[in-house]
């Protein structure tokens, strides 16, 4: 019955209806149709306009600080007897890759004539990145954040407020990221004309997964030429990235998706362990379902109720995964690994001491995956260092107290 399967597909390009294999689409109530259709019809065209491209590239360079370095991590490489390059998204303005996407979407929103911006946030990184670009463009900004996350992430809440955003607590359901996303979608339903919803990951109804992946694809675009400068080849053997919804991974994988010699390694949060009941390893635990407007893998009960995941890292604490990634998993194109809270913490300290870089807890999962791969000194491994660890200092301090470091 699937019409989609007859249309030529790549791992990179979804079908016209937004399908990556059997995942994707736009499972939205009719109330959202005009907004989503407007985006579907116009995002590609607007993104290709010279004026858009010029402003986007200029802001990425002068405001975000791109290109971010590709850094050969010598001591880390020695430790794993291989060649490891770190794509330094942690050096972006606001401290993570999230701003690549929010810059792109604010320019898009501006061209669509929108006056009001809404966003969801978990740990607050996407909220901060959205509040930042709204300040930059003088637009009204409302960020939905789970009531529990507001308590857990006070510094980012303060940042958003200082940047002029209104932070609205999501008090429904489990009061975390998935509920913040529900509230943002409800806001969009109730404000159909003047509002643009900046989704922070490669999730949501078509065209969001593709649009966000394209805005983040600057990561792999730069990796290609930077790696060529350093090694003579633009293709690494591995690209490793952590995956919650999957935006940094989508950006780091993008230009390698259809380069089959490149091993794509997506690292999910195992929490207390994949089978502990306290995990966020969606590909291991999820089943095909519909969440936040697209068909993908979703962690859920036998009755189809979405469950609350667990990860020490708020950015990976999401019960779904973008449809692009679900397809990488389903097709075997991507290798999916899971890393526990404990192993991620250990990796964060290792990287800090070997390389003088304190990574975000999310990114620490990607580093820990090195232990699960058998690598050789002939290989060139790129790790997407998606964010810096300042926001996680409280967790790291607690760890130091507990372990007596």
């Amino acid at each position: 019955m699937r019409i989609n399967s007859f249309i030529m597909q790549t791992y990179q390009q979804p079908t016209k209806q937004g399908y990556y294999g059997r995942f994707g689409g736009a499972y939205i109530p009719e109330m959202l149709h005009p907004n989503v259709e407007e985006l579907q019809l116009r995002y590609r065209e607007i993104m290709q306009e010279p004026d858009f491209q010029q402003e986007f590239q200029q802001l990425l360079r002068d405001y975000v600080g791109r290109p971010t370095p590709l850094y050969f991590a010598k001591r880390l490489s020695q430790a794993f007897s291989t060649n490891i390059y770190l794509k330094r998204e942690d050096l972006c303005h606001t401290g993570a890759h999230k701003i690549n996407n929010t810059i792109g979407q604010i320019l898009l929103a501006e061209r669509l004539g929108k006056k009001r911006i809404i966003a969801e946030t978990g740990a607050g990184q996407h909220g901060v990145a959205t509040a930042t670009v709204c300040a930059l463009k003088g637009m009204e900004c409302i960020v939905y954040m789970g009531e529990k996350d507001i308590e857990r992430q006070a510094p980012n809440v303060a940042r958003m407020r200082m940047l002029g955003a209104k932070v609205v607590p999501a008090v429904s359901g489990s009061k975390t990221l998935k509920d913040a996303t529900n509230e943002a979608i409800r806001d969009w339903i109730n404000n159909p004309v003047d509002t643009h919803y900046i989704i922070g990951s490669v999730v949501g109804p078509h065209p969001y997964p593709d649009m966000v992946a394209r805005f983040q694809s600057i990561i792999s675009e730069e990796i290609k030429w930077q790696l060529k400068e350093k090694t003579g080849s633009e293709l690494p053997s591995h690209v490793i990235a952590c995956v919650g919804g999957g935006s940094n991974a989508a950006g780091a994988f993008f230009h390698f998706l259809d380069e089959l010699s490149v091993q794509l390694v997506a690292v999910e949060a195992a929490g207390h362990g994949v089978n502990s009941g306290m995990s966020a390893a969606t590909t291991a635990l999820g089943k095909s379902g519909v969440l936040h407007g697209s068909k993908s893998l979703v962690m859920q009960t036998a009755d189809g109720q979405v469950v609350e995941p667990h990860s020490i890292s708020a950015g990976l604490d999401y019960p779904g995964i973008g449809p692009l990634h679900a397809n990488l998993f389903d097709s075997g194109r991507g290798k999916f690994l899971a890393v526990t809270d404990e192993d991620a913490l250990r990796a964060a300290f290792d990287v800090a001491r070997l390389e003088g870089i304190i990574p975000a807890l999310e990114t620490a999962h990607a580093f820990s995956a090195l232990h699960q791969l058998s690598l050789s000194n002939k290989e060139q491994v790129v790790i997407c260092l998606s964010g810096r660890g300042d926001k996680d200092l409280a967790t790291y301090m607690k760890q130091m107290e507990m372990t007596g470091i």
Partner: protein
Amino acid sequence: MSRINALFQRKSTRVLNVYCTAGYPALTSTLPVMEALQENGADLIELGMPYSDPLADGPVIQQSSSIALANGMTIETLFHQLENFRERISVPVLLMGYMNPVLQFGFERFCAEAARVGVDGLILPDLPEYEFETEYGAIIKKYGLDFIFLVTPETAKERVLRLDSLSSGFLYAVSSSSTTGSAKQLPAVEAYLERLQSYKLTNPVLVGFGIKDKESFDAAAAHANGAIIGTAYIRALEGSTDIAATTRDFLNGVL
């Protein structure tokens, strides 16, 4: 002829559809609520299947869903409760819910069970037109179920006509671009309903979202075949100790 079509043949004005959440306020309330609704003048019953992430619903209905889930309601349990319900309920009954739980149950198995117990149609707001046409619509039709699409004031004419042609039973006109339970001014909706009337649709039109009392029901019914009440009834049931009396008082206040 489907039970819904028969209803609209018999009655084409002031048709009242009332929404209730299965398993709310108590797990065993489903049937008593339906009986009370039928007894007190509801022409159709829209039975909500609770879901953890009901995007199109406002806080009141979401809260009722959370309570129903905490009470232990599942689709499996609901079909057990609906076993033989046709011995007691004669009005048309629609199941309303979201795609994810239905997909988990198995879409075809769901339609088969719904048809077997005597359900007449489905409202699945996050089942889009493309997927309906390419995959799910045929299964729904195979089991003789009606499927009701939603239209809003923002839906363009061509799209309204298209969704009307895909719908059977009736067309659900959302009175404003909002989640359920949002209070918008009904007079502003009249022009929209008159516009819908001018399209000469093949299906009857019921108006939902923001209908809460006699005044809003009368106003909606003046420009459509009837209306749908949800949030206001759920609110009335909250804390009720006598479902029959609460439902009687509530519907007496509307009709």
